[in-house]
Each structure stands twice: as C-alpha cells, then as structure tokens.
Point group: C2
Chain length 327, copies 2
Amino acid sequence: MPSLRELGELGIIRILENSFGKSKSALVGFRDDVSAFALSDGKVAVLKTDMLVGSTDVPPGMTMRQVGWKAVVANVSDLAAKGVRPLAGLVSLGLPSQMTEREIRDLATGLRESSDAYGFHLIGGDTNESEDLSVSIALFAIANRKQLVLRRGAEPGDLVAVTGDFGSTAAGLLAVLRMKKKPKQLPRPLYDAVFNPRAQLQLGLRLMASGAVTSSIDSSDGLAWSLHELASSSRVGFRIDRLPISLAARQFAERHELDAQKLALYGGEEYQLILTVRRGKLRPAMRAARGRLNFIGEVTSKSHGIRLRRDNSLVQIPRKGWEHFRQ
Amino acid sequence: MPSLRELGELGIIRILENSFGKSKSALVGFRDDVSAFALSDGKVAVLKTDMLVGSTDVPPGMTMRQVGWKAVVANVSDLAAKGVRPLAGLVSLGLPSQMTEREIRDLATGLRESSDAYGFHLIGGDTNESEDLSVSIALFAIANRKQLVLRRGAEPGDLVAVTGDFGSTAAGLLAVLRMKKKPKQLPRPLYDAVFNPRAQLQLGLRLMASGAVTSSIDSSDGLAWSLHELASSSRVGFRIDRLPISLAARQFAERHELDAQKLALYGGEEYQLILTVRRGKLRPAMRAARGRLNFIGEVTSKSHGIRLRRDNSLVQIPRKGWEHFRQ
C-alpha cells in the first residue's frame, strides 16, 4: 500500500475525484484551476480553494504578512487563469499555539492587503489550533458560462503564450532552502518572486475577455508540469520554440553553475498564466495583453507530446514539477 | 504580548474582523454562523468554511471515514442554523506524509457519504502535505435575503428552543480523552454523539422557512457559549427554565459522579440548533419541527444576562465553552 509521498498529489486528487463522483451541475473537471457550478440564466458560480501549509509552503525568512499575501495570491492566480474576478473570500486558519498576537496581526494584514489589491473582501472565516500552520482560502465569483476559459480547448495550430518569464522563483527558493541564504542577500527579482509574488489578475481578465484564448492554466505547479496539464486536458501536444527564462534566473544559473532551463521548467509557485491563442485572433489577444504576452510555441497533435526546440532538434520535456508529495 | 492560547479563538476572530474591515456587500457579521454576499434580485450567496484539525478535533479511535463525515457535518450544521441548503462544496486537505492510501480512501469515502447525506456534491479541492491533518471544507449556497435567519433578531418575550438534548458529546469525549476508554466501550448514544454526529439540516430548513424563528445559532461551541453568542448578537438576555440534558449524559454523570448540567452546558461539537421563536408563531414553528422542538426558556432584556432556573432561584450561566485555544 503506497504512502502519500509515493502516491503524489495527482494520485490523491484522482482518489477524491473517483470517490466524489461527477455532479451534474459541476461544469469543469476536478482537475481544472477552479470549480464551477451552474446557476440560472447562463451564469455560473466559480469556486476556488487552495491551502497554504507552513511546513511546505513557507520558505525560511518569510514574514507572516508575506504568508497572508501569498495565500491569497495562490487562489487569485487560478481565477486569473480562467478570466474570473473574485467577489468575496473566506479564510480558514490552523494556527500553532506558540504564535504571538503580533504574528496573527501580521498575517491578518497580509491577507487584507492582498484581498484589497485584487479587489475583494474576506467576509468570514474560521480559526483553529493546529500543530502546522495552515491558511486555507476559499474564493467565490460569478461568471458567464461562455466566458470561462478552461484547461481544455486548445487546438492544433493555436499559439502557446505566457504572461511572463520563468525561473526566478526556483532560483530564489534554491538560494534560501539549499544555499541557506538570508532573504535580504537575494537579488531583488529573486526576493520578490519568492516573498512578494503577484497574481496576473487584470491581465488574465483582459486576455480571457478578448475571445482569443482557447485554453489557459496558471503556472503555479511549474512551467513543464503546467504545459503537460494544459496539453493533456486539451488532448494536444505543444512545440515550445523558446523557453521564457528570466534574466535573474539566467544570472543566478551562471553564477552557481546551474542549468537555467531547468530552473525555468521545473520550478513552481510562479504565478504566471500559460495559454493558447487562436491564430486568427492574435491581434485582439495582443491588444488585451498590452505588450505582456510572450509567444513561445505552437499547439501540435497529441502524439507529439511536449517538445522543446534545442538547437536544430526537438526534445521531449518530461512531466516533472513542483509536487508537494514528491519533493 | 499574549500567545494565541491566551488570546482565544474569539480574540483571533476580532483581530481578523478589525483587519479585514466591513464589506458593503457582506450582509452578516464576521461572527455569525455563515457569511453572505449580496447578489442581484434579493438573492444572497451564502458561504461557509470550517476546518477540522487532526490534533484538536479528532478524538482517539476515530476512523478517517468518520473524520471526513465530521468535517462536512460541522459545516452543514452552520447552514442548517440559517435555514440554507448547501449547493456545492470544496475540500482543502493538509495530509501528513505517513498517511496511507487506504486512509485517504477512507477519508474520501467519509466526505462523499456526508455530502451525499446532505444533498450536495464536493466539486473541487486541493491537497497538500502537512505535519498536522487538516480538512477544510467550503460550502456554497444561494438563499433569499429575507429568508436568512441570523444570530441577531431575538426580542424579549420570544421563546428559546432547542432541537435536541445536550451532554452526550461531552460525556463521550470525557470517556475517550480523560478516562481512556476505547470507542467500542462507550454506550451507543455517546459513541454516536462523538463519532457519528449529525447536522440538523432538514429540520433547520423547515424551521427557518416557517417564518416563526427570530434568531438561530448552531450549538457546536457548546450550549452555554452558544446561548451567550445568540443573546449578545441580539442584545437580549435569556431565562432558561429547564436544561435539555440527554438521558445518556445523565446516566454517565451518575455513574462517574459528574455534574450532568455541566456536561450539557460546557460541551461542544454537538450539532443541534438553538433558536428563538416569536410567541405568536408557536404553532407554525411546532408544525415545522414535527415534535422535535424543545422549548427551554424565554428571551428577556439584556440586563438580565443568561440565567438558569435552579429550584426557586435564578443563577447566571457563565460564558464558558469549548474554545480550542483555551482547553
């Protein structure tokens, strides 16, 4: 009987999915970025929950204010990938008994600052004592059923695009976790990537409203993993012609003799959007993105898998990523 | 600077409430059983989240299937107290790495059985590795704004009623926690109270739809604590003429020379409803309850506090209860 670590997050999600069964009113699969529930007159309720856990999601040196901020960002990022604006949220806290009042105030401040930044209120919650810190956010939104951009929908010939560069988060996490650097020793872009991440909400709203996007996912499980998820949900393959590696990740890789491509591909907790754009709708997509869309490849048939152009050949990108139970 | 244990759950909720501020669209206070958010045309979105934590909410001998069941019940009970039917739910899991696949399957089974029992689907979720087990449920519902029964609303002269008897859960928890009894050694009513709790959803839906209920709360924080919460939210006092103590709690108290009144008053995780009924609407309330409403006292003015009739005098019931951080 495998333990959870062997089973992996995906294995657990499959167990839940099989056990819970499919609801007639559930409009998106268990494995999309959000859940959605049919209301009347073409509207859907969009629901999202994501839990931040102290022992696995909080790098050394992160303040409670940053923890609160990050917990909200992780949830908002999934809504951004669907083009949905959060209307309200709840927060469920599991707090270790040795936390101080100051720390809980800082946590509350971070939660408020981030919900303010993304335009919604946290209107309720629950607190408990717990041995491990946990901050579970639930977001609620309403959308038009037709507007919701799902993971499935990409078709061969569409273009693959991302909203930013990758690798800074992985580099920053390596620096604080493995190299034991203090946060303030990090170059600013790496520090911000790890400690002050941002969700691409406004950009996601504009892009998904453009009508040009055929499928979309947030990149929080890592670029390679998310590309595989998006492709398998849409039953297509991707050919990636150029990897979007951040300058800071390149510099970090050079200084420490690391592979910058790996930093960009196999990181995680990097809250960009990965999406596919219908070729005939490039112009509305680019107008919506206001210069913040980077086209990196093309949708191919499923049989080709996820390939990366390297020199003059194409190599398979393995399905590896940031998966909590397989660290 | 006080630690969380000194601060208490109420202190933490106050910090969150003050930090988050009041949303114009939030229709109920941070401290009611649920949160609600105004939609168009007199409808409200009702949101609820409650987290079950392994180290504090799972008594020895509870199976993972029972853990899943209880996590859902705790959330449904709060909706029952407002007269709201859950439409869909999400589950966020924090799972210790040593859990087996069998245990996660059992947990999923319990989650499914309870959501089935209360008529909704779990349509999404999130899993994480965590040092302490946490099962955070978020429920979503839609209600008519006018139908929502809140904690505030009781008026002097209303009658105080409960949907069941109290004390079995406290007795059962004492038996397994302090007396180290095995679950199967417990008398059936105590076993069921602790390991197979039920939410009063159908009864709550009928009662709150009757138009007779002026205020309502679920009793999961204990009878005494919940009476205080209900009274202070409504700015009234209560005179309790007879305590609704379960037969099993009386027998347990007698056998172990304990105070049965204390078991009934200062327990917790007992998912009954406590409510106030307009005196002119007794008949519709009783019809809705189909014999399952026990009138225990009367709403008085705030200055009288929460008093219990004992022999020929009235004694104050202190605001004590099941509060995680003050165990």
